[in-house]
């Protein structure tokens, strides 16, 4: 199902054909440039992510997609340009501070906590919402236990949503790849993010797993209204999922728009589509 109704020309909210409300930009990247020593990973890129939409960043290997995601969640700090988040200029923050601002992500190479169970992994996603002090936790009285139970209830809803009830107590190191990806998505969802970043959520999956993952991503977007920015290799998947697509190549932006617009963009075809036959 393609979402061809996305509009790129308006700053106001609008309603898509499938009934979702897309709001104004929640994040705006303005003239971002990122260098590693002499290597330019990202060169003067601007784009925005609107509230409630699924935004994709695509491009061939080494185009700078992952670097872009790392800039968004504060792991790298760009040398030039500025980032507007919820209408304000974002100062250079530490990654954990950005997590507290409501940006959560998954990783290309799964970054789960291997020594912990599925449940505990997803519970770590709730850490930004848990505030009781050490003394209360040490005694396990009152607030600490109440907070634990409330957050556990929230996490159980995510576990139900992702259909991973049966592996709740299994250490994640023992799970197959596809399930690990799902747990990682669960951990990011547990944070109730206002912006969810997905780094190649379907990399290395078989067709069935890809379909499952696509369904979860769409459900997250539709049911919770979560804004999603994702990087993907697989063009066909992206075209079905995304409202709007940014195309990168060699650190530069070469296209931006609805899947249809991007598909018919000559620069994109030359750089990417022309060589891909997915």
């Amino acid at each position: 199902m393609s979402r061809k109704t996305a509009k790129t020309d308006t700053k106001d909210s609008y309603v898509t054909a499938d009934g979702r409300t897309i709001g104004p930009a929640v994040m705006e990247m303005q003239n971002i440039t990122l260098r590693f020593g002499g290597v330019i990973a990202i060169q003067d890129i601007s784009f925005d992510i609107r509230e409630g939409e699924v935004r994709a960043i695509i491009g061939p290997n080494g185009a700078g997609k992952s670097s872009m995601l790392n800039v968004i969640n504060g792991f790298y700090h760009p040398q030039e340009g500025q980032i507007l988040y919820k209408g304000e200029v974002r100062k250079p923050l530490k990654p954990y501070e950005i997590a507290h601002q409501g940006i959560a992500r998954t990783f290309q190479n799964i970054a789960l906590f291997k020594g912990m169970s599925t449940l505990d992994n997803i519970m770590t996603g709730r850490l930004t919402h848990m505030k009781t002090g050490m003394l209360s936790q040490a005694l396990w009285w009152g607030r600490a236990q109440k907070e634990e139970v409330e957050n556990r209830a929230f996490v159980e809803r995510i576990i139900d949503f992702l259909e991973i009830q049966s592996i709740r107590k299994v250490p994640v190191g023992r799970l197959p790849y596809g399930l690990q990806k799902r747990v990682e998505l669960g951990r990011a969802l547990a944070a109730e993010p206002s912006l969810l970043l997905l780094d190649e959520p379907m990399a290395g999956m078989n067709v069935e797993e890809k379909e499952d993952m696509s369904r979860f991503i769409l459900d997250v977007n539709e049911e919770f209204g979560t804004t999603i920015a994702l990087i993907e290799h697989d063009m066909s998947v992206v075209m079905d999922l995304a409202d709007r697509v940014v195309v990168m190549d060699y650190g530069k932006k070469i296209g931006d728009g609805t899947p249809d617009e991007v598909r018919s963009n000559q620069a994109v075809i030359d750089a990417y589509l022309g060589v891909s036959h997915d």
Binding site: F36, S66, N70, F75, F107, Q108, N109, A111
Partner: protein, 332 residues
């Protein structure tokens, strides 16, 4: 120039000599770390064990004599012969090679792909095992080690440097043994570098150090490389054990001196042979000079116990990659 200045210089020179000793032990660490990514805590005990074995062969001790006596009520101690130093060294080397083989067979083989910190802790266990084993085999008494290297102050240097200072300066006091140690260390390092640059095995070693997977894929046997590396480290331990043992007797404290090699490595980096040498010299000179200038007059002395570690700690906070390491770019 006042005499204090020359004493300072003497302390500096002695620090360099001590540094060479540290470097010798550190060298063994670097070899193993490069080839297998293992931080071998047991390197110090290996030096002690090698020295004990050497003395045991030289004096014709019966291995496990104490245990045999305790179990069977006998009174055996020596075979009754003594062995020339040269053959004793050869035999001790043989034991260290056998040890390398066993370590690979019994421990390393089972710990492939474990976290570095697990391997590190395993070598602490190995160190404990060897300490108990060595003491059971050769007894825990302090032993004198003498393979014929001259010891004591070097008169030639003293006489020929006395003119530098005034009437109360008698020339630099340097131990002849330390000078020998320096020369031997230099020879050892040169031959190791030549070995790794110009032999087939050396190339394989460097390949493994660079990338385990890639080395495997071009047909290098990781396990035989490990045996070779631990064998070489055993040889280096033997040399270090001979030097340290000649200097201060073969005893447990020898393995604690080897602990000092750890800060040396943190300064010099774990993968660099020149780093180990320079790090050793910095630590040797640094702790002697600190004791001379600040420790003894102001802090009550014995700062050598901790100075090396503190220096490494402070240094690492500002430069986590060591002196020669490259800046680490973290990735997700």
């Amino acid at each position: 120039m006042p005499a204090e200045f020359y004493y300072g210089v003497e302390v500096f020179l002695n620090g360099l000599m001590a540094g060479v000793m540290y470097s010798l032990v550190a060298l063994g660490f670097v070899l193993i770390f490069k080839a297998s990514g293992i931080f071998n805590y047991a390197q110090g005990i290996m030096a002690l064990f090698a020295a004990m074995t050497l003395v045991g062969f030289q004096e014709g001790q019966i291995p496990f004599a104490h245990l045999i006596n305790a179990v069977f009520g006998t009174e055996v101690h020596h075979f009754g012969w003594t062995m020339p130093a040269f053959f004793a060294i050869l035999f001790a080397l043989g034991v260290m090679l056998l040890f390398a083989f066993l370590v690979e067979k019994l421990i390393l083989k089972h710990l492939v792909n474990q976290e570095p910190i697990i391997l590190f802790m395993a070598t602490i266990g190995l160190a404990y095992f060897m300490e108990g084993f060595g003491d059971l085999m050769w007894g825990s008494n302090v032993k004198k080690l003498d393979i014929g290297i001259p010891q004591g102050g070097n008169f030639w240097i003293e006489e020929n440097t006395a003119f530098l200072g005034g009437a109360d300066f008698y020339g630099f006091y340097l131990d002849t043994l330390d000078i020998y140690a320096t020369v031997i260390a230099a020879v050892l390092v040169t031959s190791l570098v030549l070995f790794s640059q110009y032999t087939k095995t050396g190339r394989a070693l460097r390949a493994v150090a660079d990338d385990h997977q890639a080395a495997l894929s071009v047909g290098i046997s990781l396990r035989s490389i490990w045996v070779i590396v631990w064998g070489i480290a055993g040889f280096v331990a033997l040399v270090a054990g001979i030097m340290w043992g000649s200097k201060s007797g073969v005893q447990f404290s020898l393995s604690l001196i080897a602990l000092k090699a750890l800060p040396v490595l943190m300064l010099g980096g774990f993968t660099s042979i020149p780093g180990a040498i320079i790090g050793g010299l910095i630590i040797g000179v640094g702790e002697k000079m600190f004791e001379f200038l600040i420790g003894a007059p102001l802090l009550g002395g014995a700062t050598e116990n901790w100075f090396a570690y503190m220096l490494a700690l402070v240094f690492l906070v500002f430069r986590p990659q060591g002196l020669f390491g490259e800046k680490i770019i973290e990735r997700v």
